[in-house]
Amino acid sequence: MFFLLTIVVSLAGALGVYLVGSRRPEGARRLALAAAVAGLVFAVAGAVQLGAPKGLVTQVRMPWVPSLGIEFHLAADGVSSVLVLLAGIASVSGILFSWNVERRANEFFALYLLLIAGVYGVFLSFDLFQFFAFYELAIVPKYFLIAIWGSTRREYGAMKLALYSFIGSAMVLVGVLAIYAVSGLHTFDLTRLAGTSLPIGFQVWAFPLVFVGFAILAGLWPFHTWAPTGHVAAPTAASMLLAGVVMKLGAYGALRVGLMVMPAGAKYWGATMAALAATGIVYAALVALVQQDFKFVIGYSSVSHMGFVLLGLAVANRAGLAGAVLQMFSHGVIAGLLFGVVGRMVYDRTHTRELSMLEGLGLARRLPFAAGVFTLASVASMGLPGFSGFVAELQVLGGAWQRFPVAALAAGVGVVLSVAFTLRVLQRSFLPDAPTVAAAGGGSMEHPEPITIPEKLGAVMLLGTSLAVGLYPRVLLEWIDSGLAGPLFGGLRRVMGWS
C-alpha cells in the first residue's frame, strides 16, 4: 500500500501546491517539500516492507478498460523498489535545490510534483497501457518546466526534448501495439506478456523498435543530442530530475518492455546494443572534454554514464543487469548532485557557466562548501571505490567482460576519459584563483550569497546516499537480485542462459 501512496501524495501535492496561488511562493515550496518528503517516506516504507521478495508483489489491481484487456495494475519487485527509492530521493533533493524559485512558484512545483507522480507510476506499472500513460505523464510537465523556467535557448531545448521524446514514444507505441496484437492474449498485462514466448521473427524486428524508442530517453548514442541541450536549457531542479530520474525511465522501459518481453530479440541485438552503448560512453566523454559550458560538460557526462546502464542491458546477464539497475540508481544520485552544484550553487550566484569566466572567480576560496561537494561528487562520478558508481560500473564491466570483452575494454577507455573531463571541469571552474582574469571581464560576483541550508541538506543527502550504497551495496543489490530472480525475468534467464 505504501507504494500506491507515493503516487497519491504526489498528485495531491501537485493539486494542493497549485491551489496555494502564485502570490505565496514560500507556502508553495513548503507544501511541495512536504509532499516530496512524504513520497520519500512512503517509498522507503514500501521498499522496506517489500524487502527482497521472490517475484512481483501486487499493490493494487483492478480492471480499467476490460474490453481491451487494460487493467490498473500497480505492483513492485526488487528492481522497482530501488528505482522508486531513487525517485523519492531525487524529488526531495530537487526541491531543496530549487528553494530560490520565486516566479510562478506554485505552477513550478505543481508541474514538478506531477512529473514525480508520473515517474513513480512508471516504476510501479505492470500493465503496458498504464505504463505508457504514466510515461507520457512524466514527459509532458518536463516540456513546460524547461520552456517556462529554463535558461539558455529554453524553447529550443524544450522543443528538442519533446520531439525526441515523442519520436521515442511513437516507436514504443507501435511496438506495444504490435506486441498486443502478436501475442494474441488480448491483454496488456506485463506479467503475462513476459511469460509467453513471442515468435522469434517478430521479436527480431519489434525489439529494436521498443528498445531504441525507450533508450532515446536514456541517451542512447546517436540519439543523445537532446540530453545536453535539454539539460542546459532546464532550470536546476528540472535538470536534476531529467538526469536523475527521467533518463532512467527510458532505461527502465527498455528493461521491462524490451528485454523482459522480448528476450530473444535482446539476444539477437545484443552485440549491436553493446556497440552503441560503448560508443556512447567514449563518444560523450570525448565531447565533454571540449565543452566550454559547465552544464554541457555535466550533460555529456550523463550521456556517458548512462552508457553503462545501456551496456549492462545489452549484456543482459545477471551481473550486467544488476549493474545496469544499480547504475541507474547511482547515476541518478550523482548526476542530480552535479547538476545541483552547477545550477544552484554556482550559476545562480555567478550568472555564468562559461568555464573561461568561472576561472577567474576563485570559487574554491569563496564557496568552499560548493567546491568540497563538487570535488567529492567528481570522485563519485569518476567511479572511484567508496561511492556507488564503482560498485555499479564494476558489475556492468564484470558482466560485459564475459559476453563482450571488447565493449568492456572500450568502456574502460571511457572511464579514463571521464577522469580527464571531470578533473578538467573541476580545475577550471573551482580552482584557479587569478584576480587578473576576473578583472578582465569575468563573471560578476562581488559578495556571493553563502550556501544556504536547503542546499547543504540536499548535497549531504545525495552524497550520503552515494557513499552509503558504495560502502554497503548489499541491500540494494539483494533487492535487485531478488527481482532478477523472479518469474518476470524467467524468459530472459532462459534465453540468455543464466539463473
Binding site: V290, L384, G386, Q395, Q402, G412, P432
Partner: protein, 707 residues
C-alpha cells in the same frame, strides 16, 4: 600470535578516523589536525610493530605466519565479491615501513607546513593517504586492494595539487591522476579476468583464494589462444597497473611533474610508499606472475617476469640518464625514484619477492631521507629548487648536509656500510644469474654508474662551492622578493637572514632516517639473508661463505660506484660552477644529447603530439558531429518534414478524392487529420514522424524477410 597482533585490521582505520575527524574540524585548527594525524600514525606504528612481532613468532610452520579475516561484500553475477584483510611477513614489513616513515614525515611536515594557512587540510589529506596505503598493505582481496589503490590516487591528486593556485601544480595533479588511471584500467581488467577464471579475488581463502594451489593451477593451465596462458594475460594486465602507479616506462611522465606538490608529499607518496605500491602488487601476486612456481634467484623465466625484467631494466637506465640532465633538486630525485623503482622490478623478476622487496624497503628510507633533506634545503633557501642557484650550503646547514650525504651514499650504493649497496647488489647479483639474458644486468650496472654520478653532481652543486643564490646572507631580501613573485602560496617571507638550518622537527626525522639508511643493510647481506628467510618463512643461517659467491658482482658494483662518484666529483666538485648562468660542464661534451636529457628525452613532447593531440582531435570531431546533429540535422528534419507534409497533402487531394488505393489513402487521411489538429511547425514534425515510423517499420520488415 600475540594478542595485539590480531588487531592489525585497525591499523588503516586509525589514520582514516583522523582524516575524517580533521575534515570536519574548522580550517584553522591546524594544530589539532596535526596532532590527530601524528597521534593516529604513532598508534598505527605501535600496532604495526606488534603485528610484525606476531609474524616473527609464527615462523617455521606452513601457514603459521599468515592470518586472514574475510567477509562478504556484495553479489556479483552468480558469485560473491568478498573483502578481507591479511597479515603475513610481506604485509608486516610494509606495515612497519609505511607507518614508521609516514610518522617521521608527518612530524617533518609540522615544520615544513608551519606557515601554510591550509595546514589543517594538509594533514587531513596526508592521513587519508596513509589510511589507503596501510589498507592496501593488508588487503587480502584484490578488490579492496584496488579500492585503496584508487584512494591513494585521490589523496595523491589532492596533495600534488595542494597549492592549486599554482597552475603547474594543478596541471601536475591532473596529469598524475589521468596517467595512473590509464594503468588502473589495465589493473581493473586484469581483476575482471582473474575473477572470471578463478571465481574469487581473495588472495587466501582456505584453499579457494586465487593465490592458492587450486585456482593457481587453473589459471596457469588455461590457454588463451595458442601460447598465452590466462595467468600470463592476467599478470600482464596487473603489471600495466603497476607500471602506471610506479612510474615505469612508458607511463613514467607523471611522477617528475608530481614534484609540484609540497616536499613531504614527494617524500611520502612519490618516493617511499605509493609509487612502491606497484612493486608491492607484483610481489603480492607473485605466484601468478611467475606462472605458478616459486622463483629462485636467476630463474624467473615466465613470460610476464621477462616483460617485467626488461621494463624495469630499461626504466632504470632511462630515468637515470634523464636525471643527469636535470637542474631541479626534486626532479633529479624524482627521476632517481623512477630509476630505482625499475631496479625493484628487475629484482622481483630475476630474483623473486625478497630481492625486490628488500630494495623497496631500503629505498623507502634513504629516498624519504633525501626528499626530506631536499625539503630542508628548499625551506632554508626560500623555496629555491634550482641547484644552480645553491652551493656551499654545508656551512649553514650542517645537519641537513650530513643526513643528505648519508642518503646520497646509500642511493649511490657505497659499499659495505650503506643499505642501498646491499639491496642493489642483490638485484645485480640475480640479474647476473638470470637465464634469459645478460643485458638487464649490463643495464643495471650502467644505471648504478649513472646513479653514483648524478647524485655526486647534485651534492657537489648544492652543498659544495660558493653560494650562488641571490648572494645569500646579504641580499636575502631580493631572494624573498623573487620567491614571492614565483609562487604566491603564503609561505613566510621574513626568514631572518638568508640561508638557515631547519628547526629540529625537520632535522630530527632526517637523523632517524639516516640511521636506518645505514643499519638496514644488516638484515639482507648475502652472509646473513635474514630478510629473505623471514619472507620465505624459514630461519636465517649465518654463512660467510656465501659472501664469496656474491663477491664478483659486489666488486663490479663497487668499482662502478667509485667510477661514477669519482667522475662526478671531478666534473662538478673540484671546479664548482661560479654562477647560475654558466653552462653545465657536460654541455660542451654531449652537445645535443645533453639538451635532450634536459628536456627529458622529449617523451612529454612525444605524448603531446600523439596521444594528447589525438584525443583532442577526436573530441573536436565528436563535438563537431554533435553540433552538426544539433544545428544541422534537426533543422533538416524539420525541413524534410514540412516537405513531406506538403507532399502528403498533395497525395491526399489526389488519392482520397479520387477514391482509390485505400492503403495510401489511410496514410494521407491520417496526415490530414494530424495537420488539422496541429498548427505551425509541429504539424510538419508529426507528419515526418509518422513517415519515419512507417519507413522504419518497412525497413525492419524488409530486413526480416531478407534475413
Amino acid at each position: 600470535m600475540i594478542s595485539t597482533a590480531s588487531y592489525f585490521w585497525m591499523i588503516p582505520l586509525l589514520p582514516l578516523f583522523a582524516a575524517g575527524l580533521s575534515a570536519v574540524l574548522p580550517r584553522t585548527a591546524r594544530r589539532a589536525s596535526a596532532a590527530l594525524a601524528i597521534g593516529s600514525m604513532g598508534l598505527a606504528f605501535v600496532l604495526s610493530v606488534s603485528a610484525f612481532i606476531g609474524t616473527l613468532a609464527g615462523h617455521g610452520s606452513e601457514h603459521g605466519a599468515r592470518s586472514v579475516v574475510n567477509f562478504d561484500w556484495f553479489h556479483l553475477g552468480t558469485g560473491v565479491v568478498r573483502l578481507g584483510v591479511l597479515l603475513d611477513p610481506l604485509a608486516a614489513v610494509m606495515l612497519v615501513m609505511v607507518s614508521f616513515v609516514g610518522l617521521l614525515i608527518f612530524i617533518f611536515s609540522v615544520g615544513y607546513m608551519e606557515h601554510d594557512a591550509n595546514g589543517g587540510r594538509f594533514f587531513c589529506f596526508l592521513s587519508l593517504f596513509a589510511a589507503a596505503m596501510l589498507g592496501l598493505t593488508i588487503s587480502n582481496s584484490l578488490i579492496l586492494l584496488f579500492a585503496c589503490w584508487e584512494g591513494m590516487g585521490v589523496a595523491s591528486y589532492l596533495l600534488i595539487g595542494f597549492w592549486f593556485h599554482k597552475p603547474a601544480a594543478a596541471a601536475a595533479a591532473k596529469k598524475a591522476f589521468v596517467v595512473t588511471r590509464i594503468g588502473d584500467i589495465g589493473l581493473f581488467l586484469g581483476l575482471l579476468w582473474l575473477y572470471g577464471e578463478a571465481g574469487s579475488l581473495l588472495l587466501f581463502d582456505a584453499g579457494r583464494g586465487c593465490l592458492e594451489p587450486g585456482a593457481l593451477a587453473l589459471v596457469t593451465t588455461t590457454k588463451v589462444g595458442s601460447s598465452l596462458t590466462a595467468a600470463a594475460g592476467i599478470g600482464l594486465l596487473l603489471f600495466v597497473g603497476a607500471v602506471g602507479k610506479s612510474g615505469q616506462l612508458p607511463l613514467h611522465v607523471w611522477l617528475p611533474d608530481a614534484m609540484e606538490g609540497p616536499t613531504p608529499v614527494s617524500a611520502l607518496i612519490h618516493a617511499a610508499t605509493m609509487v612502491a605500491a606497484g612493486v608491492f602488487l607484483v610481489a603480492r601476486v607473485f605466484p601468478l606472475m611467475a606462472g605458478g612456481d616459486g622463483v629462485t634467484v636467476g630463474s624467473g623465466t615466465s613470460g610476464v617476469l621477462q616483460v617485467i625484467a626488461w621494463v624495469g631494466a630499461s626504466t632504470a637506465v632511462f630515468a637515470a640518464l634523464i636525471a643527469v640532465g636535470q637542474n631541479d633538486i626534486k626532479r633529479i630525485l624524482a627521476y632517481s625514484t623512477v630509476s630505482q623503482l625499475g631496479y625493484m622490478f628487475l629484482g622481483l623478476a630475476t630474483g623473486g619477492v625478497a630481492v625486490g622487496m628488500f630494495h623497496l624497503i631500503t629505498h623507502a628510507f634513504f629516498k624519504a631521507l633525501l626528499f626530506l633533506g631536499s625539503g630542508s634545503v628548499i625551506h632554508g633557501c626560500h623555496e629555491e629548487q634550482d641547484i644552480r642557484r645553491m652551493g656551499g650550503l654545508r656551512r649553514w646547514m650542517p645537519v641537513t648536509f650530513a643526513a643528505y650525504a648519508v642518503g646520497m651514499m646509500a642511493l649511490a650504493g657505497v659499499p659495505l656500510v650503506f643499505s642501498g649497496f646491499w639491496s642493489k647488489d642483490e638485484i645485480l647479483h640475480s640479474a647476473w644469474l638470470w637465464e634469459p639474458s645478460r643485458w638487464p644486468f649490463v643495464m643495471g650496472v650502467l644505471g648504478a654508474f649513472l646513479t653514483a654520478f648524478y647524485m655526486t653532481r647534485q651534492v657537489a652543486e648544492v652543498f659544495f662551492g660558493e653560494y650562488r643564490g641571490a648572494t645569500g646572507r646579504v641580499a636575502h631580501a631580493a631572494a624573498d622578493k623573487g620567491h614571492r613573485q614565483k609562487s604566491h602560496h603564503p609561505v613566510q617571507a621574513a626568514h631572518g637572514d638568508g640561508v638557515h638550518e631547519s628547526p629540529w622537527v625537520m632535522t630530527g626525522p632526517l637523523i632517524l632516517l639516516g640511521v636506518f639508511a645505514v643499519l638496514l643493510g644488516v638484515i639482507g647481506t648475502p652472509a646473513w639473508p635474514w630478510f629473505e628467510a623471514y619472507l620465505g618463512g624459514h630461519e636465517a643461517v649465518f654463512d660467510l661463505g656465501r659472501l664469496s659467491h656474491a663477491a664478483p658482482v659486489m666488486i663490479v658494483s663497487a668499482v662502478v660506484v667509485a667510477a661514477g662518484m669519482g667522475l662526478g666529483w671531478m666534473l662538478y666538485g673540484k671546479r664548482p660552477r661560479t654562477s647560475p648562468e654558466s653552462p653545465d660542464v657536460l654541455e660542451p661534451v654531449l652537445g645535443g644529447f645533453h639538451r635532450a636529457l634536459a628536456r627529458r628525452l622529449y617523451v612529454d613532447e612525444l605524448y603531446d603530439v600523439t596521444v594528447v593531440a589525438g584525443h583532442r582531435l577526436l573530441s573536436r570531431l565528436a563535438n563537431w558531429m554533435d553540433l552538426l546533429f544539433i544545428g544541422g540535422v534537426v533543422v533538416l528534419v524539420g525541413w524534410v518534414s514540412n516537405a513531406a507534409a506538403y507532399v502528403m497533402r498533395w497525395a491526399d487531394e489526389l488519392f482520397v478524392n479520387a477514391g482509390f488505393d485505400a492503403g495510401c489513402g489511410t496514410v494521407g487521411w491520417l496526415g490530414r487529420r494530424v495537420s488539422k489538429l496541429q498548427g505551425g511547425r509541429a504539424r510538419g514534425y508529426l507528419a515526418g514522424m509518422a513517415l519515419g515510423v512507417v519507413a522504419l517499420g518497412a525497413w525492419v520488415l524488409w530486413g526480416m524477410n531478407v534475413g
